[in-house]
Structures are given as C-alpha cells and as structure tokens.
C-alpha cells in the first residue's frame, strides 16, 4: 500500500470542519438525555438487536409474510446488481425519480444505475452533496464538510441561484426548489430504519422530505436489508430513538413514518380502494450483499448497526482520512463490511490496519458493537492469508527472535520504527 500522505493532505479541510460539528453534536446529545438514561437506552437497544439477530431466520420469514399480506411487495436481492435490476424494473420508463436518504441505496450504487435519468436527492445534505458533485462524508450528516459559503457558491455555479451564504437562506431556497420536483415525480425511493416482523416499515426524519417522497409519488420503493428487522413496533421505536440520539443528538426526531401498506380508502361502501392520497404501490427491496454470510460468522454483531454514524464522530482515523477509511460504509464498520461485500483482500486496502483500536467507536455505539474486537478478528483472517503491513511482519519477527517488538536495540535510543502496543 502506498503512503497515506496524499490522502491526509486531501482531507485537511475535512479534518478542520469536523471538530466544531462533533462538539455541537456531543453538546446536543449530552443535553438530550442524562448519562444514566442514555445507558438504559443502549442496554435496551443491545437486547433488541441481540434477540433479533439471534432469531433472524424466523423473524425474517414472519416479516416478509406480514408485509406481503399488508400489500407491500417484498423483493430479496442477493447482491447490488440484482437489486439495481429489480429497481429498474419497478421504475420502468419514468424519468424523474425523487429520493430520500438511504445508505443501502448508496451501498448498491443506485445513483450510477440511474445516471441517465433525473434522480433528485431530497435530503438537504444529500442534495447539497449531489449538486456539488461531491461524495457523502457521513451516514447522517453527508454534507458535514460544506460551509454556507461553499454551498452558496455551488448553488450559484450549478443552479444559477442567487442565494445568500446563510444557513436559513439556503434551506429556504432548497425547500422551494425541491417541492416542484417532488410534486411531479411518480417514483419515490427511501431507506428504512426498522422493519417489524408484523409488517411495518419505520422511517425517521427531521426534514419532512421522507414523508413527501414516500407519499406523493405513485410508487414508493424502500431499499433496505434484513438486519433492520425487529420483532415489534415498540422495538422499532426504540431503534428510532437511538438513531436520533446517536445520529444527531436529539431525544426524538421530528417525524416518524410507520408504513404498513399502500394508501387506501374504504370510504365508498366500505370496500377497499388502493391509492387515495399516498403511494399506490409500495416495494421493499432487501439487499443481502454478504449479510447472510456475516449472520453465520463471528462478525454477526456488525448487523446490530443502526447507521447512526456515532462511531465515526470520535474516530481519529476517520477525522484524518474521511472516505479513505472504509468503502461503501465508512470507518471500521465499513472496513469489516467490505470483507464480506467485496472480499477479504479488499478490506486490507480499505484500512484494516488503520484502526488504532482506541475503542472510541464502541464507547459511543448505541448498540455497543465491539468494532475493535472485530477488527482484530479481521486482521487475524488477513494474517492467515499472509496479508499484513510489512512493519507488522518485522514486529512479529523481532518479538520472536528478541522478545521485544523493536529487535536488537541500544537502550535509551529511539528505534527507526516505533512498533508497539
């Protein structure tokens, strides 16, 4: 692997931008709930996730049957290509597609598959990233790196809009700009935060765009994956609460949509007619991409993830390398995920040895996922295949021969490489 100097240099701006965002996030989170209350929430989430992942086979069967019964068409896709094809089939000839935040949509490379159509991101952060031609920098705060000045400049250059470089002015402009698109679209795409085994899809948001995207177009496509399935609606609301608390530091988000079928009415002679004011068709795509294999491995804890991004917020490697650390998902989680979704060898390139195992991620994870522990197991798998940094090989050889990681060393002198801990 080449030196990281270039990546570090490229990410200097990001590094400067992240700390103030992290401080304000942490202050909000601390104000939302007391540490004791927060720990209670974490305990409960951990329990829900442990149970759900342990009973996933039956929960999934039950969820799929319930969703279908509720009129939601469930499609299981084994990989990204499969998922993209299924989505293209549903979209048909529609040109304009509106989309809300979905990390699974990014995972399957949806934007690329729809590059010949007009795909409009309606989450403000995603929209700004899309207009800038950038990439998402965070699962919850994709435009974490953009300042009002940068945004106003982009809006002027790309959309010819004269918007003041102020947060309020930008939001007001985008509100008007997006509504026009939203009202015209026939297909809306969202993700999901939780799916219940009794057949509901639960999505949280603050902006209101998800409510519009899931209700105004005729077709609503939900892109998600099976690890979002939990037994009950109560469990799902718990996931929602933790997502808000750890994602943005709020006690609860502005809106939660619970979608249990297409829009319908029985107002005429008490006979059900589909398609009143909301979506006429609701589809749920469940993408696998190595998750089934993960479910049966020592890495299944990764499936507890609710995508809040708190692990990244406190990660020194993410601060310095941003997108360079991870792949489709960022940070340690992204590296481990890539071993299943792309291949073990790829996880080395994505940074399997970047992690300092500082544990700031698991300390801040609402599901207490042991990312450092799994990173060590991933390294073990890589080492078994002979893949590891050269310095690690030297350190092992030194320790075997000399009993210390530095090798032959004159006491009190700084060795060339500081292999340790």
């Amino acid at each position: 692997m080449e030196s990281l100097e270039k990546d570090l240099k490229e990410n200097e701006g990001f590094k400067k931008a992240i700390l103030p965002v992290l401080y304000s996030y942490k202050d909000k989170r601390d104000a939302a709930l007391s540490p004791e209350e927060r720990e209670k929430e974490r305990d409960a989430l951990r329990k829900i996730k442990e149970y759900s992942i342990e009973h996933m086979k039956e929960l999934k069967e039950r969820a799929v049957a319930s969703l279908m019964r509720n009129g939601i068409r469930v499609i299981e896709a084994k990989d990204s290509e499969d998922a993209r094809q299924e989505i293209l089939k549903i979209i048909g000839k529609e040109r304009l597609i509106i989309k809300a935040k979905s990390n699974t949509a990014s995972e399957i490379g949806l934007a690329k598959a729809l590059r010949n159509r007009e795909l409009i991101e309606t989450d403000l952060g995603d929209f700004l990233v899309q207009v800038s031609g950038d990439e998402e920098m965070h699962p919850v705060l994709p435009s974490i790196h953009l300042t009002p000045e940068m945004i106003a400049k982009t809006l002027r250059e790309k959309l010819g809009a004269d918007v003041k470089p102020e947060r309020e002015a930008i939001v007001a402009f985008v509100r008007v700009y997006l509504r026009e698109k939203i009202l015209k679209a026939k297909v809306g795409i969202t993700g999901a935060n939780a799916i219940t085994s009794d057949g509901s899809i639960v999505i949280l948001e603050n902006e209101g765009n998800i409510s519009l995207v899931s209700r105004i177009p005729d077709k609503h496509i939900v892109i998600s994956s099976f690890e979002k399935i939990v037994p009950s609606l109560e469990d799902a609301l718990h996931v929602v609460r933790c997502s808000a608390l750890y994602g943005t530091g709020q006690a609860f988000p502005s809106y939660v949509s619970i979608i249990s079928g297409p829009s319908k009415t029985a107002d005429i002679q008490n006979e059900i007619v589909i398609g009143a004011q909301g979506a006429k068709e609701v589809y749920l795509i469940l993408v696998d991409n190595g998750r089934s294999e993960m479910l049966n491995s020592e890495f299944k804890e990764l499936l507890y993830c609710i995508n809040c991004g708190a692990c990244l917020d406190f990660c020194p490697v993410y601060h310095n390398l941003a997108r360079r650390y991870g792949s489709k998902y960022l940070g340690a989680r992204g590296v481990i995920f890539s071993a299943f979704d792309e291949g073990l060898k790829d996880s080395f390139e994505h940074g399997a040895f970047f992690c300092a195992m500082c544990k700031a991620c698991s300390e801040n994870c609402p599901a207490r996922i042991d990312l450092p522990g799994m990173m060590r197991k991933l390294r073990q798998r890589l080492v078994e295949k002979g893949i590891e940094p050269l310095s690690a090989k030297e350190m092992i050889a030194n320790t075997e021969k000399f009993g210390n990681p530095f090798g032959e060393i004159k006491k009190g002198q700084m060795p060339g490489k500081l292999y340790c801990c």
């Binding site: 406190f314 195992m357 990681p405 500081l418 801990c421």
Partner: protein, 246 residues
C-alpha cells in the same frame, strides 16, 4: 545486591514490569518510576531480559497463536520467580495482563496493577508525597488505560495532588480523542499516527494549559513528536520535576 538476590528466591514477589517501550526506549521514565516506587516503600523486583513483550502488539496485529506462545513463556518466568503481583507503567501491558492473559494462559492468577493506581494509593495513604507544582496542565487519557481499562481518576488524582491545576480538554475520559499511535498504526502508517497526534495536540493547546501530561509511553512519544507550543510530559516526569518529591 544481596537484597536483590534474596528477592529472587522469595516465594512472593511484586514485579515492576516497565513495558518494552519504557524498558528499551524510555529508560529515563523507568528510572523515574523505580525511584517513585521505592519512595513509596514498595518492595519490588525486576526481571529485565528474562521477561518478554506482553504480546499486546502481536495480538492487535492479528497473530493470536504467537501471542499465546509468548504469554505462556511469560507466565512460566513469572511463576519461576514467585511473582504474585505485577505493577506496570504501560497501559497496553496493563490491559493485556489483566484482560487478555486470563483468556490466553491456563491458570493465570497474578494480580495486575497499573502504576497510577499504586502511586495514587501511596499518596492517599501518606506514604508518598507529590511534588508541589504551580502550573496548569491538561491530561490525555491513554486508550488502553481509559476506555479499555476504566482508569480515569487515578492519574487525575495524582496530578491534583501536585497542586497543578487540571484543565480538561473538550474531549476527555470516555470520549478522549486517541493520539492515533496504537495497535501498530505508529509503525505501519506513521504519517497517519502523526496527523492524529497533531489534532490531539491542538485540542490540548485549546485548554491554554502549559503542559500536556499523559501516562502511556506510546502516547507520550507520539504526542511529543507532533507537538509545538505545549510541553508534553509523561506522568513520571511531572512527579520528578525540579524540586522533586518532598
């Protein structure tokens, strides 16, 4: 010398295990800690080249089998010398002996203490006097000591015993930002470890403290290499500052 030889034949010994980085590189730190332990009236022995690396870097690099081998060798040496308690000045060694060895070695029954606990207890018991310092410091929690082992208070308590004013960073204790050196990063990707350390140093400077104190040799060397405008000191250096212990 005679006393030392006698110690080797005793059946119950306290071992001071500096950790490779302090033993081979930070010899000044080792001398400081030995002085402090002696001043606190702790009767300890050292095993020098007889003891091996604790295995922390090996474990974190994903070499489990090699770690098991080294752990067994260490356990044998410790038992041969009647070690019933290890005091270590390295957070990674502390974590490895206290949390990993019970899983790696059959029959592991040696008590492990981080030296900050030893020093803090000695100060509180009136057996050790901290130097009187009139300065302002900030403290960097080493990940292996803080988040991995839950030791946040002892180092702070020692600092406060010197009279130095402790100015906390925006991210400290459970949320302390890592210096970026651990688990092989400093040798595998030094440029990454340096960049991370610079971020932490800036945070320390924001507190307007005069000194950045830490109690991990790896954090110490990594932060020191990347610091300007603030003095980086290892806890033992703070305790052995001019004026010295009273």
């Amino acid at each position: 010398m005679i006393k030392k030889l006698k110690n080797l034949f005793r059946t119950e010994n306290i071992l001071y295990y500096p950790g490779c980085l302090i033993k081979f590189v930070g010899t000044e730190l080792e001398e400081n800690y030995k002085k402090i332990l002696s001043a606190a009236g702790i009767d300890f022995i050292q095993l020098h080249e007889l003891e091996l690396c604790c295995g922390s870097p090996i474990l974190n690099a994903g070499h489990i089998r090699e770690a098991e081998e080294i752990a067994e060798k260490n356990f044998r040496v410790f038992k041969e010398h009647g070690i019933t308690k290890i005091i270590t000045s390295c957070p990674a060694c502390y974590k490895t002996f206290s949390q990993e060895y019970p899983k790696l070695v059959k029959g592991w029954n040696i008590e492990v203490e981080h030296i900050t606990k030893t020093i803090d207890s000695a100060i509180k018991a009136g057996k050790l006097k901290a130097p009187e310092l009139n300065t302002e410091v900030t403290y960097h929690d080493p990940c292996h000591l803080g988040r991995h082992s839950g030791i946040y208070d002892e180092p702070r308590s020692i600092i406060k015993a010197t009279g130095a004013k402790l100015r906390e960073m925006r991210l400290s204790r459970e949320n302390a930002l890592c210096c970026g050196a651990g688990s092989g990063v400093k040798s595998n990707y030094p440029e990454l470890a340096n960049a991370a350390a610079k971020e932490r140093v800036e945070m320390a400077k924001d507190t307007k403290a005069k000194m950045l104190v830490t109690t991990c040799p790896m954090c110490y060397y990594n932060l020191k290499e990347n610091a300007s405008g603030i003095e980086v000191v290892e806890l033992s250096q703070l305790l052995e500052k001019k004026g010295g212990r009273k």
